[in-house]
Subunit: 231 residues, 2 copies
């Protein structure tokens, strides 16, 4: 049964292919602490991931939301795991991955973390405070995709340049079934905004650029596509 | 007229010494970008600074709020200047400082910023991405205190160790009339919480440790002390 792209999220009939499916979603930023006060992060608000959680819930899915630090309240009816760092998010995602049918990796995970975190607040006049050595975090989606099995994987890519080229590379490398790409820094969209302007990409090479719309609607549209892929 | 410590904020009579006074408040964190996506920041939610703005407004002050990126809506009736980085906050605070009677520096300003910010998102595999050179930001309160004049200066110190000793040093160096110190990492207080547990410090050496209370109440108490100092 086709749910149709024009329908609002949640209006899907009872027979949604997402009904009863276990959906794992990561959302929000991660924080990579230098010391108990300072961290490296990004402006992700978690709005996109939380909207995806609502869209999947309203279609009858059983949702686990792994959330970085955000100022949002999770919708009732799902399991929420709160984490702070990329390593914590990786651990939580790995634990939930084996039991899931669909993994939507919408979190903006920090690629790097400080190689060493101080247990006390680094004083301004401390010698050695002027250089920060960084270490690569695990790429959660790429790592988990090695055990993809029959799972459906959906990724997000926030890029500043060569958006589609970079997103296509990630789609391939991470064995994704659907990639949602957006350009960072376009005013009134993306990070922190209630709106987003994205391009959907499929492994076949097909791409569809959507117009700017509320993140709720983007989430509904992504859920529609997941339903199609599940059928 | 004594407003009394037990009174709730906003219940002050019309004759509050803050009435008509120009109060400048900084609030929230700053973000120091490495590239368009990544930044160094801290967990400040802005709740303490926004509560101070409300407390001063309710006493009849004319409030300018310079706010870093937070998920809060400023109360109506004040002038809000939104900034992102420490340098932007410094510029905005310097512009408003000369016309103010009271400066409350409650923002958690990043001490350091990346020495160089990339205009495009640094790729994970980029060489040179593993080391981050940091540069000291201006200490806004210390810089402005050099032109203190008759202004009343209130500072905040978030410390992980030797809290009172560090706070006393800052009180002296920045010519403060009142310092509000708190320990970072105490559960259910401080950064991000609706509660805080602070010690008030005066130049005389007097110190008073308050019990854990809602930030609204801490703000009312700080406003009470400002009223006493203004008389």
């Amino acid at each position: 049964m086709a749910t149709g792209d024009k329908k609002s999220p949640g209006s899907g009939k009872k027979e949604s292919p997402l009904k009863g499916k276990k959906v794992l979603i990561t959302a929000g930023p991660t924080r990579e602490h230098l010391d108990p006060v300072r961290f490296i992060s990004n402006p992700s608000s978690g709005k996109m991931g939380y909207a995806l959680a609502r869209a999947c819930l309203s279609r009858g899915a059983r949702v686990t939301l792994i959330s970085g630090p955000v100022a949002l309240t999770p919708p009732p009816g799902l399991r929420t795991v709160r984490v702070e760092s990329a390593l914590q998010m990786f651990k939580a995602a790995r634990a939930a991955f084996s039991g899931c049918d669909v993994f939507i990796a919408s979190a903006a995970v920090s690629d790097y973390r400080p190689a060493r975190a101080s247990k006390s607040k680094i004083k301004k006049d401390s010698p050695g405070g002027r250089f920060l050595r960084l270490t690569l975090n695990p790429d959660i989606l790429q790592k988990l995709s090695r055990a993809k099995g029959g799972r459906l994987l959906v990724g997000f890519a926030a890029e500043t340049g060569s958006v589609l080229e970079n997103a296509r590379g990630k789609l391939r490398n991470k064995k994704l079934d659907l990639m949602v790409a957006n350009r960072v820094g376009r005013k009134g969209t993306g990070f922190g905004s209630d709106f987003n302007q994205v391009t959907l990409l499929w492994p076949s090479g097909k791409a569809e650029t959507l117009k700017r719309m509320a993140k709720e609607r983007v989430a509904g549209r992504v859920a529609d596509e997941i339903e199609k892929l599940l059928k």
